[in-house]
Structure formats: structure tokens, C-alpha cells
């Protein structure tokens, strides 16, 4: 596989490591509930199709990335810095 890192350009997947589904959001703060935390830690969708997932460019710029990959074909639609995705998501939640 080849992943187009937004900072480094297209690189071999050997430079990256995989974490998994980017959908779960950590329930932050002292008010967070155990059940919600359990879901965040353990519950994952197993999609056939477009899947947003976290990758780490450990042998490159050390950026965490959100990669949109079709799990059936491995076709990659989008690669974004995880930081930007997280910020946008938080803004969306606030609004």
C-alpha cells in the first residue's frame, strides 16, 4: 500500500502503523460515564466500504493521520492530519 502523507508525500505503508477506527470519540472530563468509556475503548464498527481510520507516520513525520480507505479494495480516498479532523469534529460538537 501507498499512503499520501499530507506532510511527507506518498510513502510506503511500511513507514506507518495502524491503529483502527477513527469514529469513537473519547468521553473527556470528570463527568464522563463508565459505559460511554467502555464503548469508546471496545466498540468498533467492522465496515465493508469506506472506513475512516487512524494511522501513525512513525517512520516519517510522526503525524497521526485519518485515512479514508475502502476496506474492500484498499482504495484510499483521503488522508488528513488527525489534529485537523479532531479540531473540526470538536467544533462541530460545540456548535
Amino acid at each position: 500500500m501507498r499512503i499520501r502523507c499530507p506532510y511527507c508525500g506518498e510513502r510506503d505503508n511500511g513507514e506507518f502503523s495502524y491503529l483502527g477506527d477513527a469514529a469513537p470519540t473519547r468521553p473527556d472530563g470528570m463527568g464522563a460515564e463508565a459505559a460511554a468509556m467502555h464503548d469508546y475503548v471496545y466498540l468498533r464498527e467492522n465496515r465493508a466500504g469506506a472506513h475512516r481510520e487512524l494511522w501513525y507516520h512513525g517512520s516519517g513525520c510522526r503525524a497521526w493521520l485519518v485515512v479514508t480507505r475502502d476496506t474492500r479494495t484498499h482504495a484510499i480516498d483521503d488522508v488528513s492530519p488527525a489534529r485537523d479532523v479532531a479540531r473540526t469534529r470538536r467544533t462541530g460538537e460545540a456548535a
Binding site: 473527556d28 464522563a32 463508565a34 468509556m37 512513525g58 510522526r62 488527525a82 489534529r83 479532531a86
Partner: protein, 1011 residues
């Protein structure tokens, strides 16, 4: 017309060369260099061949037709093909450490002194004792493993498996380590062309002329593909000449790379390809500094698949007898190698293409005895031409059996009216159509589709950026190969932004590919093989059908059809065709299995490359390594790091004596230890403290500048990830340490927390593990030692620089350094960090400064003994299954902040009071030795899983106490101090009573630490 001379083969056995070497070699012709004869041996007999031969062509030139025994039935087998699809002619190549089993003789290039042996036979190839398996064939039918060797169960390991392994052998691997090296290369190109036949050469030329970066890969050492094997014309010259000219032009183009002897074995996602180049396989021994093979990782923007096609055999009784060959292979041996595979050749075809063999045999001086065409109607032109050569023509007939023991003597033929006759021949050429090589385009799980026009599967939806041309794309004629190749090359170059001027493909002589496949001869005598390599016969497919294993994946697994190392290159379609007949389905509805990499077997050595032995992984060296090596330190691998374990001195009997001395010296005087291997993470920013609060489980809000604190990090699921220290160097500047083993993981975790969980925190971090050399100076005289290292003006006294103080200082006259008063040993201790470039100098300075105080260097062993004496958890305890509470750290966790792992550590099972918790152990008999890994049992309890109360995690001989001590996780451990349990170690035979105690064995009041 021809002037070749032939020596008649002894009908029933491979002739032994007498005074007439290469008796089956034509007098002229072929792409071999007759001025360069080569000596080689097969099963100990010496033969001669020519430069340009393969082992197979050289054996055939010498009349050797029996080359192996089959996998299951030990049937005599010969050479079926002339390429990488060969299922039969597998040999052991070379000897000694370079011995290489299962090498296909059809692709092994001949070299001077080549040594080959047949496989899977005993005592000899001609008299194979296990050929009796053939008599027991009924019990070896499909599924025999599952049916025959079931009972009694105990027999499997002791009798059945060894027996099967001996009987169903392939070759023997070398007994010694491979003496050769394997290289790894990466390449990038615009257009990758896979295959150097007429289509591939045309594509490479069209793309190359545009200026695109082109890589052309072909498994053969000579490019041209079938053009080298057929007598064809392109323009006004021979196909072989056209290929030579085209290769010459390609070689002159600066952006074109030709990789011959290179098999493209795998297609991976996003334009990544794997190929193996056999750099030195055609030599006895690789040249100095040259690798044996080179693994290529090619990244291409576009790819042209021009891998060609593989001819299909006929399935009839005795179709595996040596002398029965693919018609295309017969033509290859005739035209490319100048070898007559037989003197009297019969042809069994089901299409026009097979007839081409007749004129080639005649042109080479052989006799065509018969052409049997399964079709009732054959083109009159073909019939007339064959008859003109003196051949019998039998249309609408078939071959029903073969005769001869170790080599073909005659065939049995049934004509269209059902009458049979025997025709003497020593070679039978089978032509049953061609299968496009759909392996590579299937590697990404794409299924091929059925093309009714050519009665074969062709590529379906291709991987993005790939196009299939020529025979690989189902376009079987030479004219179509040239045309589709040229067009695809130009289109692919254009897709990469290059301008390719279209040129007309040169003209070729006419040909017909009319063909009606015959999946099997239903009424034939003897075993009719579908898969030669795995000995799967048509009767096995029938059996699978009867027993309900009809789906294609079931058929494959039940019969092992297509599961040999050749992945069924010559067999898959026949198996499907027979199943289609039996089930009354159309062949495409039966489906096809998926091919996976590698296309042909690849040596593990090629994948390993240089990552062998000591070079398997990189080695990280500590800054003090030079001094440690000078002192004769014994090193130990810790992850990638090579750390000094201990420093033996003259007169010390064993490692324990050295370690005891080091520990005693630290506890009585002073010692220095290289702790550079710890992970060091520099964290800075306005929100650095807030960030640390969220990733660490204990509170840091009160940590003042100039102070360090123990830190424990949890995973989000509540288990401990790692521990270390956090030192506050400035208001917004922190240095975190992580354990040696977890350093990279912790760094990745911190980046995750920052970038993904809390991107709004103003904090930055970087690993500085490699930038700082760090030394622990520990013992009552540590301060005295460091006083002459740290520059004047820095007060490191107990009042100004108490326990857990940290500061930026300078050493050795202005060299920036960091000083931490932290202790792993329990002694008065400092850790001094200096820029790595000063690591060696600083170490030597410390040793010199400490010499008047009795300093010793101590290694990771003494470090470990002292941490066990102090009850500190380390890797054996922080093992991914323990919580902070398990490790006795529960009390220090923060209660008023959110942090990673806070909620999940409270899950009921993780707070169960019955969980094993860290305590110390000492043997009741103080002379006894403890063993890590021992399980705890109540005294008198029978050993069982239910009675298990925990496990001993770390042990050491404590020189401070004079006996063995241990740390372990014991159910309700802290409540049980003073109680006795058994440390039970069935693996090493230990079973001793131990006393439960505090994990802190030395200086429990920490009086030595704070002085």
C-alpha cells in the same frame, strides 16, 4: 533437407550416453552457443550441454527423459513444459550449503559444473521402492488423509505423519546456512511492463520512446518470450531477430530499465509490485560481492501486464508418462534449444495451433507419426500439410492411453468410429489451448472472467492503473500481441504525461487460433492426471463430485488440486472443466479459485535480504560502549540495545560473583551505570503541565520547577502502560523518561493523545533519547564523585539539591548537562545527562573522579538486583496485565483529575480484592534458590489451576541480605505478610516454601536515599 543425425533412444529407459554426447541435439539451429559446451551432472552421471541451455533442454539433448518421481504415487515423470509452469521436473540443484530443492529444471540455466539430483525416490530414480504406492492408489485417492489416518489418534504423530513425510517428499533443503547474500532494491517508474514477449516488448518500446521511465521485467534471461520458441515472422525478419533488435533499442533508451532473470511475483495495492531478480543463479558461485538474488519493490504509476499464456495439457490415461509434453514446449525445445524431444513424434490437439508442431518437428529432422485432432472437422490445409510430412491424420479421435514403463513407447488411439490402434512414438505433443496468465491481476482478489471466444479465463476488472495486453489479455495471435502491446505502452505513457507518437505494428505471418477444448478423455485407460505435481487425477475430481465437494473451493481443498507449488498453472482449468461436465454446468458458473502471491516460489532468503543473524535488526549502542568493551564487559541485548550486563574482574568465578561485587560496592561506596537506554521525551509548551496531567495517572499540579516526580501511565483500558519520571526543568518545560522497552510506544501514545485527543493543548514533544547520554551515579559517595564533575557554582548538596531535585547544570567546564536526583537503587543517587557526543568523555571523567571513592561500573544485572531489593516494579511486573493497584501503586493515583485509564481501571474485575498484588518473598530455607515463573500454592495444596494463587515475577540473589529474594503477584498479597506459601515450578522441578514479606527488602525507611 535437414542434416541432423539422431541416435535412437532405447525405448524403455533413458539412454546412457556412450561416445555420442547430445545425441538428440540438432546439427544446427537454436539460440544456444555451440562454441561454448558446458559440463554438468544429473544423478551423478556427467553430460554436456551448451551455453543458452536450461537443465531441461540439456537433459533432453542427452536423451534423459526420466527426471523425477511424482509426489504421491512415485510415478516416473519427465519434462512437461519449457517454462516456469513446470509441475514435474523438479530437481535438487547444487550441493552442500547451496543445495536447493524443488528447482524446476525447465528454468534452471545451465552453467559449467552444474550438479542436479532427482528427488523423491529411493534407492534410485529408476528403481523406486515407493512406486508400490501406485498399486495402493485406491487408498491415496482424494481426501485420503482425512479418511485413512484417523484412528487411533496416537498413531498420527508416531506413525502416520513420519510415514507420509517420508513418502510424499519433495527435495531436501540444505543442511548448512546459506553462504550467499540477498539484496533488496527499491525502484520507481512511470510504466512497468510485466513480461518481455512480443506484447511486452512492443509496450516497453512505445512507452520508452516517449521518454517515460519504463521498467521491463521478464523471468527469462533472454527476452522475446514465445518469439524465441516459434518460427514466426515479424516484418521481414524472424521473430527472434525482431526481439533482439527491439531489446537493443530499449537498451539504448536512457529511461528504460530492463530486468531480465526477474520474476514479478506479486501485485500489491496502489501500484506496488514485488519481483525477485536471480542475479547469480545461473552461476556456480556468485561473483565477489554480488548477491545471489535481489528482491525488488517496484512502485509504478501504470503497469502493462504482458505475462503471456500457459498451454493446457490433455487429460487422458497415462498422460504423465515421460515423453508426453506440451506441444508448445516441444516447439521450444526444437526451435530455441535445437533439441528433438523425440525421434517419432505424435501430436494430440484440439485446435489449429497444435498442428504448427508438425512442421517444426519435420523441419528439425524428426518424424511426425500422427496428428490426432479431437475435432471431427479440421481445416483441409492443415490436414494436407501434415499428410505431406508423412503423418497419419486422425480427426475426431483421441489418445486413450500410453505405453512404456519409464518413457513413452507408444500411444493408444481411438478414432472417430471407435476403433482403436496402437501407434509407436517416443514423444507426444499435447495442445489443448492456452490459458492467459491471470495470476498477477488476481492478486488483489479480483476474479478473472470467462472468454467464450478463446475458451479461457481472461482478466476481469484490473487493478487500478493496470492494463492486460497480448496473450495475457486473451489476445492470442502474434499480430494482436504487437498491436495491443504497442497501443497500451503509448496510452500508459500518455497517462503519465508523456507524448507517444503512434506507430503501426509490423506485419506478421498469418495464424489461426481456432480451438475446441477437450477437458478430458472420458474413456481412457489408466490414471488420467489433472494436477501432475500433486498427483490429482480425473478420478479424484469425480470422487469429489460424488462426495459432494463440488464448489470450486471445496474441490480444491478436498483433492489438493492446484495446491502444489505450481499453484495449478497447468491443471486448474481442466479440473474446473471436468467438474462442469459432471455437474452439467457451464464452466464459468463453476467459478475459479483466487491466485495469491508469489507467482512462482520465492526463497525465504530473498525476503530476508540482509536481515540475517546479527543483522536481523539494527543494534543500538550505549555511549559508554568503548570503555565498557575495554574493561571486558559482558553485553546483553535489551530490545535493540546492547547494554553492559556486568563487568567481570580477574579472579571472579562467575557472573554472580561479579554482580554481587558491583551491588556491594554501590551500597558501600559508589557505582556508575549507563542508563541512556531509557526513553527521554522533551515536552514543552504553555499547556505542557495540563497535558502531563492527562496522560499520567498520578497528580503533577503541585510539581514545582526544579523537581522531578515518579510517573505512572495507564492505557485507556485501565492497565499500566509504563512508568518513569517527569522532571520540571522550567515553567513550561518538562522531561519525561520511559522504560527502555516501551520508549517508542510511549512516544507514539503521547503523540496520539496530543494530536487526536486534545489537539487544542499548546504543547510540543520530541524524543531526545539519542541526544542525551545519561548515567546513574549511585551510592553513599555519589555526591563526592560528582562534585568534581559538575562545574563550580552549582550546589549539589543535600539542602540545595535534595532528593527529587532536577536542574540544568554544566560539567567539565561549560558543557551543558542535566542533573536529576532520582534513584532506582535506593541509594543516594543522581542521574547526569550530557549531550551524547560527550557521553564517552563524561563516563571516563566519572570513573576517574570516582576512583578515589572506590567507584565501580555496574551493569544491567546489578541494576536489576538493586531494584528487586527495593521492590520497584519493572518489565516483568508491568506486563500489560497489571493495574496500578496490582503493583501497589494504587494509593498514589490522582482522584481529582481526568486522565487516560481513569474510568476503566475501576471495572469490577480490576478492583477485585482477590486479584494478585505485588509482594516480596524469601525462601524459608535461606539457602534455597528462587525461580521467576514459579506459581504460588497453599502449603499442602495439590497443584491445579484452581489452586493457583499467583506467580513469581522477578528473583535475585541479594548480596545485601545474603539469600535469594523475589517479587511476585499473590492473591491478597499485602494482607498476608509472614504467611508461607509454596513456590511451585513444575517446569524446572522446583517446589519450595517461601515466606511472604514486604517487597522493599533494603532500607525500607529510605534513610539512605535522602542524605
Amino acid at each position: 533437407m535437414s542434416t541432423i543425425t539422431l541416435r535412437r533412444a532405447e525405448a524403455d529407459s533413458p539412454p546412457v550416453p556412450t561416445g555420442r554426447p547430445q545425441a538428440f541435439r540438432t546439427a544446427t539451429g537454436g539460440l544456444i552457443d555451440r562454441r561454448r559446451p558446458l559440463d554438468f551432472s544429473f544423478d551423478g552421471t556427467r553430460y554436456a550441454g551448451f551455453e543458452g541451455d536450461t537443465l531441461a533442454s540439456a537433459l533432453l539433448a542427452n536423451g534423459v527423459r526420466l527426471v523425477g518421481r511424482s509426489f504421491k504415487y512415485h510415478r516416473p515423470r519427465g519434462i512437461l513444459s519449457a517454462g516456469s509452469e513446470e509441475p514435474n521436473a523438479l530437481v535438487e540443484l547444487r550441493a552442500g550449503a547451496r543445495r536447493e530443492p524443488n528447482t524446476r529444471a525447465t528454468v534452471a540455466e545451465l552453467y559449467e559444473g552444474l550438479e542436479a539430483r532427482s528427488q523423491n525416490r529411493w534407492p534410485s530414480l529408476r528403481y523406486d521402492a515407493l512406486a508400490v504406492n501406485a498399486l495402493a492408489a485406491p487408498i491415496f485417492a482424494a481426501g485420503f488423509y482425512y479418511k485413512t489416518f484417523m484412528w487411533p489418534a496416537a498413531f498420527w504423530e508416531k506413525l502416520y505423519e513420519p510415514m507420509i513425510r517420508r513418502a510424499a517428499g519433495l527435495g531436501r533443503a540444505a543442511d548448512a546456512p546459506d553462504p550467499d547474500t540477498y539484496d533488496r532494491a527499491h525502484a520507481f517508474c512511470d510504466v512497468l511492463v510485466i513480461g518481455g514477449g512480443p506484447a511486452g516488448l512492443s509496450a516497453a518500446l512505445a512507452a520508452g520512446r516517449s521518454g517515460a521511465r519504463v521498467i521491463l521485467v521478464d523471468e527469462d534471461h533472454r527476452l522475446g518470450g514465445r518469439l524465441l520458441a516459434e518460427r514466426r515472422e515479424i516484418g521481414s525478419r524472424s521473430g527472434a531477430d525482431w526481439a533482439r533488435e527491439t531489446v537493443a533499442e530499449l537498451a539504448s533508451l536512457p529511461e528504460v530499465t530492463i530486468l531480465s532473470r526477474t520474476t514479478l511475483f506479486g501485485v500489491y495495492d496502489h501500484g506496488a509490485y514485488g519481483a525477485v531478480e536471480r542475479v547469480s543463479d545461473h552461476l556456480a558461485v556468485p561473483a565477489a560481492h554480488a548477491p545471489r538474488q535481489r528482491l525488488w519493490r517496484i512502485t509504478a504509476r501504470r503497469a502493462v501486464l504482458a505475462a503471456g499464456a500457459i498451454e493446457r495439457p490433455h487429460v487422458f490415461g497415462g498422460n504423465d508418462r515421460p515423453g508426453v509434453m506440451l506441444a508448445g514446449a516441444v516447439r521450444t525445445y526444437l526451435n530455441r534449444f535445437g533439441v528433438l524431444p523425440g525421434q517419432r513424434v505424435a501430436i494430440f490437439t484440439s485446435g489449429d495451433d497444435g498442428w504448427r508442431t508438425a512442421s517444426d518437428v519435420a523441419a528439425a529432422g524428426g518424424q511426425v507419426v500422427a496428428v490426432i485432432d479431437a475435432r471431427a472437422c479440421v481445416p483441409p490445409g492443415l490436414r494436407r500439410a501434415a499428410e505431406a510430412l508423412g503423418a497419419r491424420v486422425i480427426a475426431g479421435g483421441y489418445v486413450s492411453g500410453t505405453k512404456g514403463h519409464l518413457a513413452l513407447k507408444a500411444i493408444e488411439v481411438v478414432d472417430t468410429y471407435g476403433s482403436s490402434e496402437t501407434i509407436a512414438c517416443d514423444c507426444l505433443a499435447m495442445a489443448n489451448g492456452w490459458n492467459p496468465i491471470v495470476h498477477l491481476d488476481s492478486h488483489l482478489s479480483r476474479r478473472p472472467v470467462w472468454d467464450a471466444a478463446i475458451h479461457a479465463f481472461v482478466p476481469g476488472a484490473l487493478p487500478s492503473g493496470m492494463v492486460a495486453v497480448g496473450a495475457a489479455g486473451g489476445r492470442l495471435t502474434l499480430a494482436a500481441c504487437l498491436e495491443t502491446g504497442s497501443r497500451a505502452g503509448a496510452e500508459m505513457a500518455a497517462a503519465c504525461g508523456f507524448t507517444a507518437a503512434p506507430r503501426d505494428a509490423p506485419g506478421t505471418d498469418p495464424e489461426s487460433t481456432e480451438h475446441t477444448p477437450l477437458w478430458r478423455v472420458a474413456r481412457s485407460r489408466g490414471k488420467a492426471f489433472v494436477d501432475f505435481q500433486n498427483d490429482v487425477a480425473a478420478s479424484d475430481v469425480e470422487l469429489a463430485h460424488r462426495e459432494g465437494f463440488r464448489a470450486v473451493e471445496h474441490l480444491k481443498r478436498y483433492t489438493t488440486l492446484g495446491m502444489a507449488t505450481d499453484q495449478g498453472k497447468t491443471s486448474n482449468l481442466a479440473g474446473l472443466g471436468i467438474m462442469a461436465e459432471l455437474t452439467g454446468q457451464a464452466l464459468p458458473s463453476v467459478g475459479t479459485t483466487v491466485f495469491r502471491p508469489p507467482f512462482t516460489p520465492v526463497a525465504i532468503g530473498a525476503f530476508a535480504g540482509h536481515h540475517r543473524g546479527k543483522d536481523f535488526r539494527a543494534t543500538r549502542q550505549v555511549p559508554s560502549r568503548a570503555w565498557c568493551a575495554e574493561q571486558g564487559a559482558v553485553f546483553v541485548e535489551t530490545g535493540l540495545w546492547l547494554r553492559p550486563a556486568y563487568f567481570p574482574k580477574a579472579g571472579e568465578a562467575d557472573w554472580l560473583e561479579s554482580v554481587n561485587r558491583e551491588v556491594n560496592t554501590v551500597r558501600s561506596h559508589v557505582g556508575v551505570c549507563d542508563v541512556t537506554t531509557l526513553g527521554k521525551i522533551d515536552i514543552q509548551g504553555r499547556d505542557a503541565l495540563a497535558f502531563i496531567e492527562r496522560v499520567c495517572a498520578n497528580p503533577f499540579g503541585t510539581l514545582p520547577v526544579g523537581k522531578a516526580r515518579y510517573a505512572v501511565l495507564l492505557r485507556e483500558d485501565g492497565f499500566v502502560m509504563d512508568d518513569g519520571t517527569v522532571a520540571r526543568m522550567g515553567e513550561t518545560h518538562f522531561v519525561m523518561t520511559a522504560s527502555t522497552a516501551n520508549a517508542a510506544k510511549v512516544m507514539q501514545h503521547l503523540e496520539f493523545c496530543h494530536q487526536w485527543l486534545w489537539p487544542d493543548l499548546d504543547v510540543q514533544m520530541v524524543s531526545v533519547s539519542e541526544q542525551w547520554a545519561q548515567y546513574a551515579v549511585a551510592g553513599p559517595r555519589a555526591r563526592d564523585t560528582l562534585r568534581s564533575i559538575v562545574d563550580e557554582g552549582f550546589d549539589i548538596g543535600n539542602e540545595a539539591f535534595p532528593f527529587l531535585a532536577c536542574a540544568e547544570v554544566t560539567v567539565g567546564g561549560g558543557i551543558p548537562a542535566r542533573l536529576f536526583r532520582i534513584s532506582f537503587s535506593g541509594e543516594l543517587a543522581y542521574e547526569l545527562a550530557v549531550p551524547a557526543a560527550y557521553g564517552d568523555a563524561a563516563w571516563r571523567a566519572i570513573m576517574q573522579a570516582g576512583s578515589t571513592h572506590g567507584i565501580t561500573a555496574y551493569g544491567s544485572e546489578a541494576l536489576s538486583v538493586m531494584r528487586i531489593e527495593k521492590g520497584h516494579a519493572a518489565g516483568a511486573e508491568i506486563n500489560g496485565q497489571t493495574t496500578a493497584r496490582d503493583l501497589g501503586l494504587g494509593g498514589m493515583l490522582a482522584k481529582k483529575k481526568d486522565y487516560v485509564g481513569r474510568l476503566m481501571k475501576e471495572r469490577p474485575a480490576l478492583t477485585d480484592p482477590d486479584r494478585p498484588i505485588l509482594v516480596g518473598f524469601r525462601p524459608v530455607d535461606r539457602g534455597a534458590r528462587l525461580r521467576a515463573g514459579a506459581h504460588f500454592l497453599a502449603v499442602g495444596a495439590a497443584p491445579s489451576l484452581a489452586a493457583d494463587e499467583g506467580v513469581m515475577t522477578s528473583v535475585a540473589y541479594s548480596p545485601s541480605l545474603g539469600h535469594w529474594i523475589g517479587l511476585g503477584l499473590l492473591r491478597r498479597g499485602p494482607e498476608r505478610h509472614g504467611e508461607r506459601v509454596r513456590a511451585y515450578d513444575p517446569v524446572r522441578g522446583g517446589d519450595i516454601e517461601v515466606e511472604i514479606c514486604s517487597p522493599v527488602f533494603v532500607d525500607p525507611k529510605e534513610e539512605k536515599l535522602r542524605v
